[in-house]
């Protein structure tokens, strides 16, 4: 049978606030266990939460970033369940009235088209701590550093029909939140965690099948593989006439399978009710406009501008824009060299290659935008051939200075002096009578091939520094005049 996969995504996004959502503890990643947990985070008797305004602002930023409606009165609720890393025995979340209401997010696909995803809601909540099972023998350790870290849970409608769409959405979301500066979106450190609701139905059917939820998938690649493997599993069950059990599953990356975690039927009744220790968040239009004024240009608008103003292809724009730092770098280079196409090529080609080899981000690039622009200027004005330019680039990467300095110290300047070139051409022609005879006897098509010999000889003589365009023109002229 022909199955259609239907998916909705829930992303838990860790907001990059200075302190936690309800306490003054630092929310930074990586401190020694329990060093970033105060009396509030520990759920000590009598302690009360105080809402971090920065978390609210970040949530509103996100809402505005996807054109969502901002709840004018959102309310925190207590989600009740017992777990050792949940200090209060409840998680403060938003169940009935979320801060970000329905919105629409346009996800760029690889072919440059836009794919609209309906956002159901996004709500603020506090993260739980961590249970540590591998440090103490026979005992579980509890690390509450993460307890109280602000999360924005972003829920979509079941609008995804392929793993590729899901991954494209996550990448676009990652791009958006880094543009907004509200999260580092780092999946491997858990700043962006993804739950995938997966169901299958017969192609053409309008009703949804029974779904499973795959929890906590922590890389783009695993998302894709987890979806494929869950699709196979559900399809096998349905093909053989079975039914899908609604349950939570975990993705095992090593075996590339999903495994049952717990059944929803026996899942906790969370007994949500409004958190009496916090007032409702009332957001007026002044606040929204003040936040809106701080929004940067977002990826969608930037893609449009890069293609229309700089003449970049959709493909190049789609590669550069998602990385905020790369887009900034690109614009800085263009500002200096006024040559967008070569700038894009250099950034996506040699520069990205070198950065990847060295596992560096573009922010750490040893070549500044100004220096890369200087290189492009010297190519554009004919000083450097592309071959020489690559040498200069490598030298620049090694910190040997800017383009002009490297050209000077290494003597890499392209020979564009016609008298000097003419002398070299004359010498090669004079030293190669057989090849000249052969060339003159050949027809037009063959001549083109044979001219390569002479180019090579001159390049050799010039140590690769001959201006190729000038050399070609001069050589043809001289050879054709030999008869």
């Amino acid at each position: 049978m022909n199955w259609e996969i239907v998916m909705g995504l829930e992303v838990h996004l860790q907001l990059a606030t200075q302190s936690k959502i309800f306490s003054g503890s630092s929310a930074q990643f990586g401190a020694a266990p329990n060093e970033q947990a105060d009396a509030v985070d520990l759920g000590m008797p009598g302690m009360l939460p105080v809402l971090n305004e920065q978390a609210v602002r970040y949530a509103v930023k996100f809402g505005l970033g996807i054109g969502a409606r901002i709840g004018d009165r959102s309310v925190f609720d207590r989600k009740n369940y017992f777990y050792p890393d949940l200090p209060k025995g409840y998680q403060v979340s938003q169940f009935f009235s979320p801060i970000v209401c329905e919105g629409m997010f346009e996800v760029p696909l690889e072919d440059g088209t836009l794919f609209p995803i309906r956002i159901t809601r996004a709500h603020l909540e506090e993260d739980a701590g961590k249970s540590v099972h591998d440090v103490f023998q026979q005992e579980t350790g509890i690390d509450l550093n993460r307890a109280g870290t602000p999360l924005l849970e972003i829920v979509t409608e079941p609008d995804f029909r392929s793993a590729e769409q899901a991954v494209a959405y996550l990448k676009a979301l990652h791009s958006l939140v880094t543009y907004l500066g509200i999260s580092d979106g780092n999946m491997s450190e858990g700043s962006m965690r993804c739950d995938i609701n997966v169901s299958l139905r017969e192609k053409g059917s309008q009703t949804l099948g029974t779904r499973t939820e795959i929890k906590n998938v922590n890389s783009f690649r695993f998302v894709e593989r987890a979806i494929h493997s869950e699709y196979e599993r559900q399809a096998d069950i349905l093909e053989s006439g079975g039914t899908i059990t609604q349950e939570t599953r975990l993705y095992d990356a090593e075996q590339n399978v999903t495994r049952s975690m717990r059944s929803k039927e026996v899942a906790n009744d969370y007994r949500y009710f409004p958190e009496p220790d916090l007032l409702p968040i009332v957001i007026d239009s002044d606040y929204i406009e003040a936040v809106r004024a701080t929004l940067p240009e977002l990826p969608g608008a930037k893609r449009t501008r890069f293609t229309s103003d700089y003449g970049l292809s959709d493909y190049d724009a789609a590669l550069i824009v998602p990385h905020h730092a790369m887009a900034d770098y690109f614009e800085a280079v263009v500002q200096f060299c006024k040559a967008p196409k070569p700038a894009a090529n250099w950034i996506l080609g040699d520069l990205s290659g070198a950065l990847n080899r060295n596992e560096m981000g573009i922010e750490e690039s040893p070549i500044t935008p100004e220096r890369l622009a200087g290189l492009i200027v010297r190519i554009e004005d004919g000083t450097l051939s592309s071959k020489l330019a690559k040498q200069v680039f490598d030298a620049m990467w090694e910190g040997e200075g800017d383009t002009d300095e490297i050209v000077a110290t290494r003597g890499l300047k392209q020979v564009s002096d016609s008298a000097a070139l003419e002398a070299m051409v004359d010498e090669v022609i004079a030293n190669s009578p057989d090849q000249v005879t052969q060339y003159l006897a050949a027809d037009e098509a063959k001549r083109k091939k044979l001219s390569g010999f002479f180019v090579g000889q001159v390049m050799k003589a010039s140590k690769g520094q001959a201006n190729p365009q000038m050399l070609n023109a001069l050589l043809l002229e001289k050879l054709n005049n030999q008869s």
Binding site: G46, V50, F82
Partner: protein, 470 residues
């Protein structure tokens, strides 16, 4: 008299009578005397604050840095907080001398002080009777002169009812007037701390010290705090006092009615007028309260799981066992009953019928008061349905016990200020008049109580201390 002498006298009183009364769980004599001496030197230097050198006992629900804070529970028998409640630090800043911590119903759940893990508190007027609850230790200590000033908390009547049963003055401020930070939570939307003292005047002094906006409590009100003490005004000319028909109905005990009416006629003589009013949804208060308060409590008490602090059972076999036994052994019966009731009221399928409905009725009850206060300045009634009752009388019947707070619960649901002031004795046992004010108008009810205390000496009646000590 120096603060040190006063503190010595209080400590002596505790020493002599606490064995019989069990009003105080923890006494800190050295710490108290040290603060008293510091107070005396401040007084000598003319650097005194509003409460400098005044000995005080805190209800054991207020976290006190370095001093055990039990909340009347086995769960927190060994709990020593690393922080002071805002009320504690504010009163410290005003110069009080903390003598120790008062006994109370476990987690403030009770109206008789019979649910304390640390044993019952005896009513100083009759040792066979309860002192009321949950601030029963505070009321009994105050009534016997263990301290001239005590603190309490009131979630459904826990200051006013024991004040009534022990013959002292107790004030529950408007919800939000006093910070809840560092007060061990029972029902967060209802809990409010307040003072208990011999007089309305002393309550006014203490409230001024306790009250105020606290950045650490999001529900504390961002309003200026008047100097309630210097603003005390005994002139009641033109004061309109509302008498809810629902309180003064046939269910009201005739002796209590007689005492309350006697007190009200004193206020009338002082220039107030008495007006019959309606609070038509009063009879829903108990049911509403006993859904909302346990629901909030079921979550507030979830943190006592044996993992990080508090009581942990011996040798748990697994996580489930750790939770079940730590909580079954650490919490008493009434606390467990309320956790179960609250959990039930919030459960899937029952939320709308119980919790949500209760929230709606709460708004209706609040609206009743709002409308009533369009006609009157103060609402008056009894603080409790009767005088102190013998131990065990209501313990087997939770509903009978819950009825103890029939006149006080609605005030918490509506978040209003209320106080209880002595209105004489019935067969030697005290009765309290309850005065309820408009939101954040503690001043008017303090004024009325103050005038009553000028014109009568009911508040001066004392239990016979000699029978207690012997």
């Amino acid at each position: 008299m120096s603060s040190e002498e006063l503190t010595q006298a209080c400590l002596k009183q505790i020493d002599e009578t606490n064995e019989a009364l069990n009003a105080v769980i923890t006494v800190c004599p050295e710490q108290a005397l040290e603060s008293a001496r510091a107070a005396d030197s401040a007084l000598a230097k003319g650097e005194s604050k509003s409460l400098t050198g005044i000995p005080l006992l805190h209800k054991d629900i207020f976290c006190t840095r370095g001093v055990r804070t039990t909340c009347g529970s086995r769960m927190l028998e060994q709990f020593v907080p690393a922080y002071d409640a805002t009320v504690v630090s504010k009163m410290k800043a005003e110069g009080v001398v903390m003598l120790g911590k008062c006994n109370m119903d476990e987690f403030a759940m009770g109206s008789s002080n019979e649910t304390s893990f640390f044993g019952t508190v005896k009513n100083p007027w009759d040792l066979s009777c309860v002192p009321g609850g949950s601030s029963g230790g505070s009321a009994a200590a105050l009534a016997t002169g263990m301290a001239p000033l005590v603190t309490g908390t009131d979630t459904g009547g826990s200051i006013r009812q024991p004040a009534s049963l022990c013959g002292v003055t107790g004030l529950k401020p408007t919800y939000g007037r006093v910070s809840r930070l560092g007060i061990i939570a029972f029902a967060s939307s209802l809990d409010q701390a307040g003072p208990m003292a011999r007089t309305a005047e002393d309550c006014a002094l203490a409230l001024t010290a306790m009250a105020g906006m606290d950045d650490g409590d999001s529900t504390s009100a961002n309003l200026p705090v008047p100097d309630f003490h210097s603003a005390l005004n005994p002139n009641l000319q033109g004061l309109r006092i509302g008498l809810p028909r629902e309180y003064f109905n046939d269910d009201l005990n005739t002796d209590v009615r007689a005492r309350i009416m006697a007190a009200l006629s004193e206020l009338e003589k002082a220039g107030a007028s008495l007006i019959d009013i309606d609070l038509p949804h009063s009879h829903y208060a108990i049911a509403t309260y006993y859904v909302i308060a346990p629901a909030e409590a079921s979550a507030n008490l979830a943190r006592y799981d044996g993992v990080r602090f508090g009581y942990r059972c011996e040798q748990p076999s697994d996580l489930e066992d750790l939770y079940q036994r730590s909580r079954s052994e650490g919490f008493g019966e009434e606390v467990q009953r309320r956790i179960l009731v609250g959990t039930y009221a919030l459960s899937a399928g029952f939320y709308d019928a119980y919790f949500n409905k209760a929230q709606q009725v709460r708004r209706v009850i609040t609206e009743d008061f709002r409308r009533a206060f369009e006609q009157v300045d103060v609402i008056a009634g009894p603080s409790a349905p009767g005088v102190a009752f013998p131990f065990g009388a209501k313990q087997q019947d939770p509903i009978a016990m819950y009825m103890e707070d029939i006149y006080t619960l609605a005030v918490n649901l509506a978040g209003l200020p209320g106080l209880s002031t002595p209105a004489g004795l019935i067969n030697g046992m005290p009765v309290g008049l309850q005065l309820i004010g408009k939101p954040f108008d503690e001043q008017t009810i303090l004024n009325a109580a103050h005038r009553l205390q000028i014109d009568t000496d009911w508040h001066s009646a004392r239990p016979n201390l000699e029978t207690i000590a012997s």
